[in-house]
């Protein structure tokens, strides 16, 4: 067995290198440009400090940055959970009572186009500048609309025969939702959750910009810039980006576990 396993795993490694190699090379080039080429071209420190200085700033301020990242992540996660669950529940109601859906949907789509971060200073007035809730609400509102619109599409985009089949079994609405509409919606829901994970992080950081606990990541970015500590600001942005990527990856992993049967996921698995 083991003699057979080796060539197979070797082939898998080769495939992995083929798949990820180009991306790794681009990453390396990008980092090298940042570190050496930009300073050589005379890009000033306040525009973009060299990579090594940013990493040094991260190391020097690691405990504050990690604590700040955790605070801001909790705001983002709270908003994500709140906004996504409300949107999912709302979508269920609108899908169940279609006239209600047709009445409200135009406004939902219009509201989706509103630049919601514009409300960030207002939520501070509502909940208090230092309260995490003002950031949670911004993140939640940002998550709400894409999840609502996508979930509703998933709940209602069944083939007519799928519903006729349920009708032929005399299935009550509760069963139609549990066995047909909700499973059908899941690929749509997860696409929306991936978008929402990114939006939640944006909402939380931008919410921080308008004030909050001095430890929060967004507040650290603003105060570092005002103190001309650009390296620290960039290190904080780096932390925010890493959290955003990890958040997205966690949702993508959940997607793979829950809707592994869906063609778009299958295409990604070898």
């Amino acid at each position: 067995m083991s003699t057979l396993a080796h060539p197979a795993s070797g082939r898998r490694n080769t495939q992995r290198v083929r798949k990820w190699g180009p991306a790794a090379i681009v990453f390396g080039i990008g980092m090298a440009l940042w570190q050496w080429v930009l300073p050589a071209l005379g890009v000033e420190r306040y525009l973009l400090p060299p990579l090594s200085d940013v990493l040094q700033a991260f190391w020097d301020n690691r405990s504050e940055l990690v604590r700040g990242g955790w605070i801001t992540f909790k705001e983002a996660l709270g908003g994500f959970v709140l906004g996504c669950s409300l949107a999912f529940g709302f979508a269920l109601v609108l899908a169940r009572w279609r006239p209600l859906g047709s009445a409200l949907m135009p406004y939902m789509i219009a509201a989706n186009a509103v630049p919601i971060v514009a409300f960030a200073p207002i939520t501070n007035a509502w909940f208090g500048t230092l309260s995490p809730w003002s950031k949670v609400v911004i993140a939640a509102v940002l998550c709400f609309f894409p999840v609502l619109v996508n979930t509703l599409r998933g709940l209602t985009s069944l083939r007519p025969e799928s519903l006729e089949l349920m009708r032929s079994y005399a299935a009550p609405q509760r069963v139609v939702f549990a066995r047909a509409r909700i499973p059908n919606s899941l690929p749509f829901v997860f696409s929306a959750l991936k978008i929402a994970s990114v939006l939640a992080m944006i909402g939380a950081v931008v919410g921080d910009y308008f004030g909050g606990s001095t430890e929060a990541l967004g507040v650290q970015i603003v105060s570092s810039v005002s103190l001309a500590q650009y390296e620290t600001a960039w290190a904080a942005i780096l932390v925010a980006s890493l959290i955003g990527i990890a958040f997205y990856a966690a949702v993508a992993l959940a997607e793979r576990l829950v809707v592994g049967w869906h063609p778009s996921i299958r295409a990604g698995v070898d």
Binding site: L165, R167, S168, Y169, A170, R179, L186, W261
Partner: protein, 268 residues
């Protein structure tokens, strides 16, 4: 035919879609006896799929009365008196073959052991043993349609409604599926109402062929098919088979099938 033997009785069924819209069905009179294999044949727009859906209480007729197993069509649906197979297999992508077949059993409250046993029986009936853990996308079109037939038969309904179930398959697969369907029909002895627009398929499978014509959708003739049972590969080469195919074709043309411009079947 004694009324007690009638599985489906249609009296003066008409269906109009929309206000002053298309008359999909007009004055349909039809009796289907227990154990019969009835094909509804006609060009697109003749209302054959609509008639099937009226029988299944999936579409309400504008007027007329329909009885299924001596009850209203609605009551028959609520009693789960029929199984239905569509042109596409309509399997749920998130369910394995076994779970797709067991779906109606789940809704009807059969326990896990009963469902598992029944799924095994059905898998061998449709010759898909060993495929229970597969997902729909791992199967060919013909195999998917066999899963869909197994699902329709899972709760042993006395009536099977089939809406062009083999329309999307290639000719070879279709002929093989025809033979399998006849074998299953002989085994389970249920009544089948089968919508098709293939003349040879209708003649090969049926005990009676109901010829329909469009605008308005109506029954123009009903032809008994007196070919010997069971039907086999030789049946397809029997001179009587060709005579009957010709009869059905002429009935279709007499009903005005020639004037028809291709258009999608009227389904709600």
């Amino acid at each position: 035919m004694k009324p007690s033997e009638a599985v489906v009785t249609a009296r003066g069924i008409s269906k109009t879609f929309g206000k002053g819209g298309v008359t999909a069905l007009q004055d349909i009179e039809l009796d289907v006896g227990r154990g019969e294999f009835i094909s509804l044949i006609g060009p697109s727009g003749c209302g054959k799929s609509t008639l099937l859906r009226v029988i299944g209480d999936l579409v309400d007729p504008t007027s007329g009365e329909i009885r299924v197993n001596g009850k209203s069509a609605r009551q028959a649906r609520l009693d789960r008196d029929y199984g239905i197979v569509f042109q596409s297999a309509v399997l749920y992508d998130w369910r394995t073959v076994a779970k797709n077949i067991a779906l109606p059993l789940e809704l009807m409250g059969f326990n896990r052991a009963e469902r598992a046993a029944r799924v095994q029986e059905l898998l061998s009936l449709v010759e898909l043993d060993g495929f229970e853990k597969h997902y729909p996308w791992q199967l060919s079109g013909g195999m998917q349609q066999r899963v869909s037939i197994a699902r329709a038969l899972s709760f042993t309904p006395a009536l099977l409604l089939m809406d062009e179930p083999f329309g999307a398959l290639d000719e070879m697969t279709r002929e093989r599926m025809n033979d399998e369907l006849l074998r299953i029909w002989t085994e389970i002895r249920s009544t089948v109402i089968f919508v098709t627009h293939s003349i040879t398929e209708a003649v090969y499978l049926s005990t009676r062929v109901v010829v329909m014509s469009p605008r308005p959708g109506r029954i123009t003739s009903v032809l008994p098919i007196d070919l010997e049972q069971p039907r086999t590969r030789e049946t397809r080469e029997d001179p009587r088979f060709f005579e009957l195919v010709t009869e059905v074709r002429e009935a279709l043309h007499a009903g005005g099938a020639d004037d028809v411009v291709e258009e999608p079947e009227v389904v709600e």
